[in-house]
């Protein structure tokens, strides 16, 4: 393949899916290496990486086998056997990889230690992946989502303020009516200086109350009425929370900690539903919340971990702010709804690989609605294992053009990476493949995503 043709770049990209296709099928890379393809590899990564692809791939697998929910390598909560797997994996990784990781870590530490943090640089570092196990991911995500201001000295104030706001919100909106009644009684009582325990026998004192203040009240303004209306949402949230990441001990099971985590997530989702009556709670929001809450509660800093609920709420709201329209059914057909986003994905695919686009749209009639709906609304949390989700979200948050832009790119890259299988499949096979996306090397996927040609026909401004 001559490399000085203008189309070579395209051709080169088209080769990758095949190579990756064979990786996905488990065969080695060596037999697919040709001499000139090997040269083209140089522009992306050093040759040494090629042979380590296997190692990395296996590392991903071993990560998947971990059923105890300890996703970070090192840090708190690490089991003995987990460490063994980690070391055996690292044996196969080249020196270059270790050096690169160290460099990344020191870059990140340097950046985070600045007084005035450069968000652009942070985004660049995040796009390459953040280290697991220490608290840096939590801090970087908070910075990239705009929860923490870039000036370091304002952090404590901001955090304290926001956490207080959250506590107040909880008190206002989540308090049970009997609790609020009790507080009113206590206030009333202390005002009258009446002591309850010394009350002598006799008729119990009756107090007249307004029409709104009793449990059977049907008035709209009644605290009780609102409470009973919310129990329905709460039941739905509870049901979904039970099913969140059932393989992770952090979320599932009946241990006190997992119950506590689920209760915290329930509070967050319930508050969100109450503050956004137009969308309320939609199934799937729990999945979007899960990685955020997990990262914040496994923060090494004790205080941050204890306040994970408040921080997660604020960051959840920020994260959803540009994709919340996807959840609203009435907006489905509008310019901001999910269908419009799906068509943007389609256009992006068309701009990058017309052949595949044509094959999917017309030949096999696999429309994005059938597979990408879940990809987009849930930010890919259902397609990959937990560790990969965290890595992908690093790239989402590190994209200077926003989460949605990167999301579409990654979705397109997902299609490109299984191109050979898609081209040879019919409607049923393709749908099956896309709805149960195969395991894949995440770094490669993200590389492909970063290198996509943006869709210039869309109305999004490309600076």
């Amino acid at each position: 393949m001559p490399r000085d043709r203008t189309k070579s770049h395209d051709r080169q990209r088209k080769n990758f899916p095949d190579r990756l296709g064979s990786l996905v099928l488990g065969s080695g890379l060596e037999e697919t290496f040709g001499s000139d393809i090997g040269k083209e590899l140089d522009t992306f990564q050093p040759h040494g990486f090629g042979s380590d692809r296997e190692g990395l791939g296996d590392w991903e697998d071993e990560g998947d086998r971990d059923v105890d929910g300890v996703v970070g390598d090192g840090g708190e909560g690490c089991l003995g056997n987990r460490e063994v797997i980690g070391t055996s994996g690292s044996d196969r990784v080249s020196v270059l990889e270790v050096i690169a990781a160290d460099e990344k870590r020191s870059d990140l530490e340097y950046e985070l230690s600045q007084e005035e943090i450069n968000l652009e640089k942070l985004q660049r570092i995040a796009s390459k992946g953040l280290p697991d196990g220490d608290g840096s991911r939590a801090r970087v995500w908070k910075l990239l989502l705009g929860y923490l201001p870039p000036s370091r000295n304002l952090w404590d104030k901001e955090l304290a303020e926001n956490r207080q706001k959250y506590a107040k919100l909880k008190e206002e909106l989540l308090i049970s009516p009997s609790e609020s009644a009790r507080r009113r009684i206590e206030g009333f009582r202390s005002f009258e200086q009446e002591s309850d325990s010394g009350e002598s026998d006799g008729p119990l004192q009756r107090r007249e109350i307004s029409q709104e203040d009793h449990p059977l009240s049907l008035g709209k303004a009644s605290v009780w009425h609102q409470f009973f209306q919310n129990t329905e949402i709460m039941d739905q949230i509870d049901r979904d929370l039970q099913r969140t990441h059932p393989d992770m001990k952090f979320f599932s099971g009946e241990t006190p900690t997992s119950r506590k985590h689920r209760a915290a997530m329930r509070n967050i989702l319930l508050l969100f539903a109450k503050l956004n009556p137009a969308i309320r709670y939609v199934q799937g929001m729990n999945e979007v919340l899960a990685p955020l809450y997990y990262v914040f509660s496994t923060d090494i800093n004790e205080q941050n971990a204890a306040n994970a609920e408040a921080d997660s709420f604020a960051c959840f709201v920020r994260l959803l702010s540009d994709s919340v329209d996807h959840f609203c059914q009435q907006l489905d057909n509008s310019a901001v709804g999910i269908l419009s986003t799906l068509s943007r994905l389609s256009e992006l695919l068309r701009a990058n690989d017309e052949e595949l686009w044509r094959h999917l749209e017309f030949t096999t009639k696999v429309k994005p609605q059938f597979y990408a709906f879940r990809w987009i609304t849930l930010l890919l949390t259902q397609e990959f294992d937990f560790k990969s989700i965290l890595r992908i979200w690093d790239s989402f948050l590190g994209n200077p053009f926003g989460v949605q832009d990167m999301l579409l790119r990654v979705c397109c890259a997902m299609l490109l990476c299984v191109k050979s299988q898609l081209l040879s499949g019919d409607f049923i096979a393709n749908l099956k493949l896309l709805q149960h996306y195969p395991e894949i090397n995440i770094e490669h996927l993200l590389h492909v995503a970063m290198d996509l040609t943006p869709d210039t026909s869309s109305y999004r401004v490309w600076l």
């Binding site: 009350e199 107090r207 009793h214 059977l216």
Partner: protein
């Protein structure tokens, strides 16, 4: 936060056709966790209606009940409180606090719910609380014709109880509130 409905002495169909409409509109399923009925429903349709409001139903036998298999007394524990139910026609003099206190000690309960007098009362007596929800339909009693329909809803939350009293006076529902705490020193028995 457990909501317990206490009512009784409906005497349907003998003395009253049905619960007042205003009461019925308020009693919707899904809000109440337990129902305590003092007795004298009197027939099965009322039992079925109460079952639709809440599946956990506790009834004691009144002297006019057509269902003979209800128990004379019943006890149950809700939260930190032990509640007892008895119709009250067995306790003589009817409505006498000391005699009811005897029954309370016998059943070993914190709150005793009785009926028969068709008058709402709530007393703290000798370490326990006696609540009479009155008649839910306003049916005449053996003692008097002048009866206001009334029932009681208890909100039990740990060691506190808030009692909401619903009375139909002159066609309007009036709600009163009573609250008391269970002191950790147990009742003198």
């Amino acid at each position: 936060m457990v909501l317990v409905l206490a009512l009784g002495d409906m005497h349907i169909p003998h003395r009253a056709p049905d619960l007042p409409a205003k009461f019925k509109s308020m009693l919707v399923p899904g809000k109440i966790q337990h129902i305590i009925c003092t007795g004298n429903l009197c027939f099965k349709e009322v039992h079925d209606y109460l079952k639709t409001l809440c599946p956990d139903l506790h009834i004691s036998r009144g002297e006019y009940d057509e269902e003979t298999r209800y128990p004379e007394t019943k006890t149950l524990t809700i939260g930190q409180f032990k509640l007892g139910v008895c119709h009250g026609h067995q306790v003589i003099p009817w409505g006498d606090l000391d005699s009811l206190a005897m029954l309370q000690r016998q059943l070993d309960v914190d709150i005793l719910v009785t009926g028969h007098t068709h008058q709402f009362t709530a007393y703290k007596h000798e370490g326990g609380v006696v609540i009479n929800p009155g008649s839910a339909t306003g049916a005449y009693s053996s003692i008097t014709y002048d009866v206001n329909p009334s029932f009681v809803l208890m909100d039990i939350d740990g060691f506190r109880v808030v009692v909401y009293v619903y009375e139909l006076i002159d066609g309007e529902v009036k709600v009163d509130k009573i609250d008391f705490k269970k002191t950790t020193t147990t009742n003198a028995h």
